[in-house]
C-alpha cells in the first residue's frame, strides 16, 4: 500500500516543513516531487496485485488492480493540477505548507476510497476527503464569500455524514458485518432495516458527489471557494467520491436480487441530476458558476457507471475520471488567469492569447463529448454500459438529450472567445512558457485518450 503510506507521510512532512521553509517556491517543488514519488511507488505496487482482491490489514483494505489504476490516474491528474495551478494554490494566503498538506491528506482519503474493504474504512475515507475540503474552501480569509462557502459546506457535509453513519449502522444491524464482501445480503429475503440502510447510504454518497436533489450546496460552495480550490474539489474529490460509490454498490449491494431495490432510486437521482445540472447551467452568467453546474451534470453521467454494473461501467468510470478531471482542471487553470469571470470577460481571447483559446476549446469539446476527445469515449463507455444492462433505455435517451443541451453553454464560451470582439483582461505575467507547455501537454493527453483509450484500459 505504497500510495496510502506515501501520501500520508508527505502530508505530515509538508505540514511540518511549512513551518521551517519560508519559500513558497521550495514548498511547491517539494509537493510536486511528493506526487511524483507517490506515482512511482504506486507503479511498483501495481505489479504485486492482480484482478482478484487482495485483503490487507485483516480485510480493512481490499486491493485490486482497478483500485491501483484509479489511484494512478488520480495522482497523474494531481500532478497536472500542481503544475498548472500550484502557484495559485501557494498564493491563497500565508500558509503555503498547510494548503499542500491538506491536498495530500485529501489524496490519502481518495486512495482509501479506491481500496477500502470495510465500512469503517469507507467512512474514514469519506471523512478524510471531506474535512480538509471544509478548511480549503474557507482558506481565503479576507473574503466573506469564502467563509460562507466553508460554513455551508461544513454544515451540509456533516449532515450527510450523519446519514451515511445511520445507513451503515442499520446495515450492520441487519447483517452483523462491516465487511463489504462478506455482508451477504443476497440469498435471503431482504428486511426493511437493510433496505433503509442501503437507501440512506445512497443518499449520503449522492450528497458527497453532488447529485440532485442533494446538489443544492454545490453551486454556492464552488462559487465561494477560491477558484484554485474549486478546481480541486470539483474534480479529484468528486471522482474519489464516485469510486467509493461504485465500489460499495457493486461489491456489497450488486447481486441481482438486491439491486432491484435500489436501482429505481438511483435511476431517478441520475435523471434529476442530468436535467437540473444542464438546464440550470444554461442560465448562468459567470463561467465559474457555469463550471459548478457543469460538474453536477457530469456527475449525472458518472452515475451511469454506478447503476449499470458491468465491466464496461468499471472501464467507463476510469476513463471518465481521467477525461473529466483533466478537462476541468484545464478549464479552471485558464479561468484563473482571467480577471473577469463572466462570459464577457472571455470576449476576444482568441486574438490576444490564441494558444489559450485553442486549449480551452479542446477542453470544452471534451466536456461536451465531441468525438476524438477523451470525453466522447468516456460518455460512450458509460452509456453503452447502461444499454448493455438493459431496461435503462429511457435514461440513455435523456442523457443524450442533456448532452445536446450542455453543448449550448459550453459553445457559448467558445463563441465568446472566437467570434465576439472585445478586450479581455488577462494576467499576462502569469502566463509563462512553462504554463503554456503544460497546458498544451494536457490538451494533447485529452486528445490521445480520445483516440487511444488503451493507454488506460490496457492495464486492467
Amino acid at each position: 500500500m505504497n500510495a496510502l503510506i506515501s501520501t500520508a507521510v508527505f502530508g505530515i512532512f509538508l505540514m511540518i516543513s511549512g513551518l521551517f521553509i519560508k519559500s513558497k517556491q521550495a514548498i511547491r517543488i517539494l509537493a510536486i516531487s511528493g506526487v511524483v514519488a507517490a506515482f512511482v511507488l504506486n507503479i511498483i505496487d501495481f505489479r504485486q496485485y492482480g484482478a482478484s482482491a487482495t485483503e490487507l490489514f485483516h480485510g480493512m483494505l481490499s486491493v485490486t488492480n482497478f483500485g491501483l489504476l484509479f489511484i494512478e490516474i488520480i495522482l497523474g491528474c494531481v500532478l497536472v493540477y500542481f503544475l498548472l495551478s500550484g502557484k495559485d494554490l501557494a498564493n491563497i494566503g500565508h500558509y503555503t505548507g498547510e494548503y499542500f498538506a491538506l491536498i495530500f491528506f485529501i489524496l490519502c482519503g481518495v486512495v482509501l476510497a479506491a481500496t477500502y474493504g470495510n465500512m469503517l474504512m469507507l467512512f474514514l475515507s469519506i471523512e478524510i476527503m471531506s474535512i480538509p475540503q471544509y478548511i480549503l474552501a474557507g482558506s481565503d480569509k479576507h473574503n466573506l464569500k469564502s467563509h460562507e462557502a466553508s460554513l455551508k459546506y461544513f454544515l451540509m457535509g456533516a449532515f450527510s455524514t450523519g446519514f451515511l453513519l445511520m445507513g451503515i449502522a442499520l446495515l450492520y444491524g441487519a447483517t452483523g458485518s462491516f465487511d463489504i464482501t462478506t455482508m451477504n445480503l443476497a440469498g435471503r429475503p431482504i428486511d426493511a432495516m437493510a433496505l433503509a440502510g442501503i437507501i440512506l447510504i445512497a443518499f449520503a454518497l449522492a450528497f458527497k458527489v453532488s447529485a440532485a436533489p442533494f446538489h443544492f450546496w454545490t453551486p454556492d460552495v464552488y462559487d465561494g471557494a477560491p477558484t484554485v480550490v474549486t478546481s480541486f474539489i470539483s474534480t479529484i474529490v468528486k471522482v474519489g467520491g464516485f469510486v467509493a460509490f461504485i465500489r460499495l454498490f457493486h461489491i456489497a449491494f450488486g447481486s441481482p436480487d438486491v439491486d432491484k431495490h435500489w436501482l429505481l432510486v438511483l435511476s431517478i437521482i441520475t435523471a434529476a441530476t442530468l436535467i437540473i445540472g444542464n438546464v440550470t447551467a444554461v442560465f448562468q452568467q459567470s463561467v465559474k458558476r457555469m463550471l459548478a453546474y457543469s460538474s453536477i451534470s457530469q456527475a449525472g453521467f458518472m452515475l451511469f457507471a454506478v447503476i449499470a454494473m458491468n465491466v464496461l461501467s468499471w472501464q467507463g468510470i476510469l476513463l471518465y475520471a481521467a477525461a473529466y478531471s483533466l478537462a476541468t482542471i484545464g478549464c479552471f487553470a485558464i479561468l484563473m488567469k482571467m480577471k473577469d469571470y463572466t462570459y464577457d470577460g472571455y470576449n476576444g481571447l482568441a486574438q490576444k492569447q490564441p494558444l489559450l483559446a485553442l486549449m480551452n476549446t479542446i477542453f470544452l469539446f471534451s466536456l461536451v463529448g465531441i468525438p476524438a476527445t477523451a470525453g466522447f469515449l468516456a460518455k460512450y463507455f458509460v452509456l453503452s454500459a447502461a444499454v448493455e444492462k438493459g431496461g435503462l433505455l429511457w435514461l440513455v435517451i435523456l442523457a443524450v438529450c442533456c448532452a445536446a443541451i450542455s453543448a449550448f453553454y459550453y459553445f457559448r464560451l467558445i463563441w465568446a472567445m472566437y467570434f465576439k470582439a472585445g478586450d479581455c483582461q488577462v494576467e499576462e505575467h502569469a502566463i509563462t512558457p512553462a504554463f503554456k507547455s503544460v497546458l498544451a501537454l494536457t490538451a494533447l493527453l485529452v486528445i490521445i485518450l480520445g483516440v487511444w483509450p488503451g493507454l488506460i484500459l490496457a492495464w486492467i
Binding site: I12, M15, I16, L19
Partner: protein, 150 residues
Amino acid sequence: MPSPSYPTLWPFLIYGILVLLLAGGMLFISHFLGERHQEKETDEVYEAGIEATGTARLLFPVHFYLIAMFFVIFDLEAVFIISWAIAIRDVGWGGYLAVVIFVAILVAVLIYEWRIGALNFGPQGKKILRAYRHKIKGVNHNEVVDKQNN
C-alpha cells in the same frame, strides 16, 4: 423476538413517583407557608449585599475555543491507546508497531501546534514584564536587563 418481563422495574417507577411527589410537595407547601416580603434588595442577584457587575452572558476570549479543541483532540487519542493497552498481549509486536506510529503522528502534530504558537495562550508574561520595565525605568536600563536575561 419475545419480549422478556421486567420484574425489577416497578421499584424504580415508585421511586421516581416518590421523588416527584416530594419535590412538588415541598414547592407547593412552601408557596403557602413561606414568608413574603418586598424590600429594596429582594430582587438583587446577591441578597447579602454584593452588587452584581454586568450580566452572566459574557463573551469568552476566542482562545478558550482553542483549549477546548485541543482537549477534545488529545483526549480522544487516549481511547485508542487504552484500547491497545487492554489487548496488548493479543496484538503482539504488530500492535506495538502500530501504536508507535500512532504516537509518532501525535508528536508530529504536537510539534506543529507548538511551532505555530497555538499553545501560547493566556497573557504573555515575558512581554508584559518587558513592557513594564520599559515604562518605569526607561530604555537604557531595559536593554541592560535584557542582556542579563539572555
